[in-house]
């Protein structure tokens, strides 16, 4: 019963499930329905997510982490610290046994330093974690946006126009999927940074962020494009596309106003799943030393700092802070992605 109800809702966003039932409110056909369609998509997702405890919890965690990052300046001002002020006085950091190691009162959370201080430079860990979250999440979200736009437009164009356009775009997709991702991203990031250095994007701490967004965004679209293309192939044969064409709508108008709104369900699912991938990728690259670099904090940069000089061996807390944050964030986004997929794309969850 519940299942049948859900399926009825789903058919409004699932373009290739045969002829949709006559539900006038959420009919995907016709021009006027396009904006209502987009709203019903999120509404459907929300209705399904609300029913699952895990999905609801992960949504709350995601929102909390976003707020934590957005409010970084406020929160660190409340704690009375900032992420860049270093304090290496012998009252804070050990001078004798292990030079640079925070003294017991400063290593772990306290009133003064909510998450303790960094070994070596004695900067406040809480402020670095919050500002680092800003950097990490900005990179992940922007690069996802770049991939999603590229993947949707190119995939839809390949599926809709067919023929030579399809052949060219599909070959490019195959190529992108054949490249070993991390390796290519890793070797191209320093190259791109040296290229961007003299442009407006190349100023200070902005440079690594911009280059990561461009590289991660540019190498993440192929998979989504392939999925979108498959959906559009069946979509373009449908009556409402023909109807729009016979009204005299141009190909571009049909593509952007009829086709793309109808694949937004799938796009939303893959976008949610791409975000944790990009968070991990930023962490990996910064950890390897080609992404965000000290003094700009990011979660990957903090992991890099924990490993360099083997600080994590004498001060495991220094590894745990960014490590746990990263795991919780990626886990929450992954679970949310699963929930969105189950809500909007029941076919994918069965495969």
């Amino acid at each position: 019963m519940k299942r049948a109800q859900a399926l009825t809702q789903l058919q409004s966003i699932e373009p290739n499930t045969g002829s949709p039932p006559p539900t006038p409110a959420t009919s995907p056909e016709g021009k006027a329905a396009a904006p209502a369609e987009a709203r019903s998509l999120l509404a459907t997702a929300w209705m399904r997510i609300r029913r699952s405890k895990i999905a609801l919890l992960s949504l709350c965690v995601v929102v909390a982490i976003m707020l934590f990052a957005i409010l970084a300046p406020v929160l660190s001002a409340m704690s009375g610290n900032d992420p860049f002020t270093s304090n290496t006085s012998p009252e804070v950091l050990d001078d004798f046994q292990t030079p640079g190691l925070p003294l017991p009162g400063y290593m772990y959370p306290s009133d003064e330093h909510w998450l303790g201080v960094e070994p070596g430079l004695g900067r406040d860990l809480f402020a670095r974690l919050a500002y680092g979250g800003q950097v990490s999440l900005t990179i992940a979200l922007l690069s996802t946006a770049v991939s999603v736009v590229l993947g949707t437009v190119l995939g839809a164009a390949a599926g809709y126009f067919g023929g030579k356009t399809d052949a060219v775009i599909s070959r490019i997709m195959d190529l992108f999927l054949a490249f070993p991702h991390l390796l290519l991203v890793l070797s191209l990031t320093p190259i791109l940074q040296s290229r961007l250095r003299d442009t407006p994007l190349g100023e200070g701490s902005f440079l690594p962020m911009a280059s990561l967004v461009i590289i991660l965004g540019f190498f993440g679209w192929a998979y989504l494009a392939r999925i979108v293309r498959g959906q559009v192939l069946s979509l373009r044969e449908r009556e409402f596309v023909e109807a729009a064409r016979s009204f005299g709508a141009s190909h571009l108008s049909v593509l952007f106003r009829q086709i793309i709104p109808n694949v937004m369900g799938v796009v939303l699912v893959y976008a949610t799943m791409l975000i944790p991938t990009n968070i991990s990728a930023e962490a990996a690259l910064s950890f390897l030393g080609v992404g965000v670099k000290d003094p700009t904090p990011s979660w990957g940069q903090m992991l890099n700092a924990a490993q360099s000089g083997n600080w994590y061996l004498s001060d495991p807390w220094f590894l745990a802070v960014p490590g746990v944050m990263l795991i919780v964030t990626v886990l929450a986004f992954n679970l949310l992605g699963d929930a969105v997929r189950d809500a909007l794309d029941p076919k994918a969850s069965r495969h």
């Binding site: 070959r171 195959d174 190529l175 054949a178 490249f179 070993p180 991390l182 390796l183 290519l184 890793l186 070797s187 191209l188 990031t189 320093p190 190259i191 791109l192 040296s194 290229r195 944790p276 991990s280 962490a283 990996a284 950890f287 390897l288 030393g289 080609v290 990957g300 992991l303 924990a306 490993q307 994590y312 061996l313 495991p316 590894l319 490590g323 990263l326 795991i327 990626v330 886990l331 992954n334 679970l335 699963d338 069965r350 495969h351």
Partner: protein
């Protein structure tokens, strides 16, 4: 496939050649006069048109060629991938030196995660809906979210630094047949294997579970049961054989990917394989090395794709190549 390989090599070459503002300056180092940059440019063949450079590079893959400035040319033996900017060593030698480490990492991790991933996935599928199933699925969700830097460093901290159970990885062991014997080899690579296996087996559990559940619901399984075959025969001879194909695809792709170097894991455990070499080359701007490793890795992925297609036919009786 040959076409795809050619395209991959061409694109990699283009990206790397057009990339940096001036590879000659990078090759020449910090203290460099304009004259020396110009010399380096000639020595690298960069005064030649772009296509000539590419053809020269590709020719080196099939036969030895001479590289360097006219008058100071040196023989670059087959297979010629150029010479490192940093050490002037032949790139082919650097790769040959790194490969055994990468193989050592890949083999163990592969065996470990295939056994745990497929085993647990199958178990979850057989006990669908039970607490065992829920626990395995939950563990897989967590496992897939564990970033390698965090797991890797944590494993080092726990097993090497705190419990003193395992030694820190050393560069001296790169094969189970070395003088130290297979035991030392396993002890040396066990932690990197676990770090990789935690991440990879999680996705294998998911894929195995969903596919096996789907397969067990199909008609031919019911037929096999109705014929009165033993549950074990139904599960393994009929079910697993048909439901395992997506896992084989994944495995093939992952082998291809891993042979190109487990970048993060090698970096964390200081294993000087392809990935480790690539990171250091990338950071120091050693273009010939990063370019060659990227091409090699793409080559492994493409070959893996073809092997997967062939393996399909062998495993699943329903798939036959025309």
């Amino acid at each position: 496939m040959v076409l795809l390989l050619a395209a991959v090599s061409f694109i990699t070459f283009t990206l790397f050649q057009l990339g940096p503002s001036d590879p000659a300056a990078a090759a020449c180092g910090q203290e460099c006069t304009p004259e020396r940059v110009a010399e380096a440019r000639v020595a690298l063949g960069m005064d030649q048109p772009f296509f000539v450079q590419y053809i020269d590079y590709m020719r080196g893959l099939f036969s030895p060629r001479m590289i360097g400035a006219p008058g100071a040319q040196t023989l670059c033996e087959w297979p010629c991938l150029g010479k490192s900017f940093q050490t002037n060593e032949s790139v082919a030698d650097i790769i040959a030196r790194s490969l055994p480490y990468t193989f050592s990492m890949a083999i163990g991790a592969l065996i470990l995660w295939t056994i745990t991933g497929v085993g647990l996935g199958l178990l979850a599928a057989l006990r669908k809906g039970s607490p065992v199933d829920k626990f395995i699925v939950g563990a897989a969700s967590v496992g897939v979210s564990l970033p390698i830097p965090v797991t890797g460093l944590f494993l080092l901290l726990l097993f090497v630094n705190q419990l003193h159970l395992l030694p820190f990885t050393t560069n001296e062991i790169n094969s189970p047949f070395g003088p130290q014997g297979p035991g030392a080899w396993v002890a040396n690579y066990l932690l990197p294997w676990i770090a990789l296996a935690v991440l990879f087996s999680a996705s294998y559990i998911r894929v195995t579970r969903t596919n096996m559940i789907e397969t067990f619901g199909e008609d031919f399984i019911r037929t096999a049961r109705a014929k009165g075959l033993a549950p074990r025969t139904v599960t393994f001879k009929h079910g697993v054989r048909a439901g395992i194909t997506p896992v084989v695809t994944m495995l093939g792709m992952d082998i291809g990917l891993l042979l190109g170097g487990a970048v993060l894991t090698e970096q964390i455990f200081s294993v000087p394989g392809l990935g480790f070499t690539a990171v250091h080359a990338a950071i120091s701007g050693d273009l010939p090395v990063t370019m060659a490793i990227t091409m090699l890795a793409a080559f492994f992925v493409i070959v893996a794709n073809v092997v997967v297609d062939l393996a399909y036919a062998a495993i699943d009786p329903r798939v036959r190549l025309q």
